[in-house]
Symmetry: C2
Subunit: 243 residues, 2 copies
């Protein structure tokens, strides 16, 4: 390992920023290393002073995402809240940082991708996905203790995949449409997770099933008013990770 100077650290940040932007625009495969270097304002040779190959760039980017996401996510994971919060709120709390993050960093979805990324990137993608999935698994285990370990993991995987699947349209949309999509994501997650908590779960305070139909999950956006979106979420960009 080399002793990095401040200048070098800045270059690394520049490179990762450029890579993230390019990934967002043209995808991983089409983002050439020379283009990344050019975008970062350096020569191809300089790029390889800091990364041994293209994949390592994706990996470093992935790590940066995991870190930034972890910090943003941590706030939503106060132990107590996780167990006590009504499901509806919990869902919002867990998705909000993810949404904010992806909106602030379009292109992150390339790494957070739904699992089908070009060869070589899959390796770099896994940590991001695994980090989120791990956290969700813990929450599911806490709130639906009746589930077996494999079941818990499965539920977490499905939940994460649903979130990931909705990310591109959410990021792509804006304004009211984005809010509406977020509301749909909320409904989908609540609809999926609510039944699991009904048995021995914690405070499922929001009337598990009262009326004739099981419309517990329909409280958001499906009333009279057009949207009533979940509260706007704070931006959690990662660009200035080191700057």
């Amino acid at each position: 390992m080399v002793r990095r100077q401040a200048r070098g650290q800045q270059r690394i940040t520049d490179i990762l920023d450029a890579a993230l932007a390019l990934f967002a625009e043209v995808g991983y495969a089409a983002a050439s290393t020379n283009a990344i270097a050019a975008r970062a304002g350096i020569s191809p040779g300089s790029l390889y002073q800091f990364f041994r190959n293209k994949e390592e760039i994706a990996q470093a980017l992935s790590e940066r995402l995991v870190t930034a996401l972890g910090e943003a996510h941590a706030a939503a994971f106060a132990e107590r809240d996780v167990v006590e919060l009504p499901l509806e709120e919990l869902v919002d709390r867990m998705t909000a940082p993810l949404i904010a993050f992806n909106v602030a960093n379009p292109g992150a979805k390339v790494l957070f991708g739904s699992g089908d990324v070009p060869t070589g990137l899959a390796e770099a993608t896994r940590p991001v996905f695994a980090a989120v999935a791990g956290r969700v698994t813990a929450v599911v285990a806490a709130r639906a203790p009746a589930l077996s370990a494999p079941e818990t993991e499965r539920v977490a995987t499905v939940a994460v995949r649903i979130v990931a699947a909705m990310m591109p349209p959410i990021v792509g949309a804006s304004g009211a449409e984005r809010d509406a999509l977020i509301a749909e994501l909320h409904r989908a997650l609540v609809g999926y997770l609510a039944p699991l908590e009904s048995a021995s779960g914690p405070t499922t305070s929001a009337r598990p099933t009262s009326s004739a139909n099981g419309s517990t999950a329909a409280s958001v956006s499906r009333g009279g008013s057009p949207a009533d979106p979940p509260r706007r979420v704070p931006a959690v960009p990662v660009r200035g990770g080191r700057g």
Copy 2:
């Protein structure tokens, strides 16, 4: 257009089969045209006798998928059933062909992809996605007439994305694990869609909510027994599309 001989038609089928298989193994970008040709047992030159470029191969493959899927799907879309069927059954009927199709044709997911495919393939991907989404939109409109047009479309999009998101793990798994994942997909869709029908919807006959908890949707795999998966679905391969 050239007059195709039987031999030529066979070559086209061979090429598309090879492309589908390679896409499944290494992805679109990494599947070189020379490799496709070799896999199809022909020379690179011959390949370009039938397709002008790589993208056109993906497009033809996409069309083949749309056709095959359409036929497989049509059976599940008898007008009457769509409106009268209980949601649970409807969901199974609509997802079953998709699952069977994707299992029989791994690699189809590359084209059915969740929307984030390498540049150039996006164009070819759209028809498949749009075809499925269109059908689902019609069903949603029929069963939840209270929704506005944009809402209907949004719901259909979300539903399709959820299905697409679950496809890779379902295809990747096998046996009991696959059945369990299919059950989870079922739960997710029902949980998402059920609330929409509660108001003015059609026959939600399947005991909307009887027991103490709202576990209507959890009837599969979430009881005492390990799985009780949805009935095995007929295979709907496309390989012999023209053979």
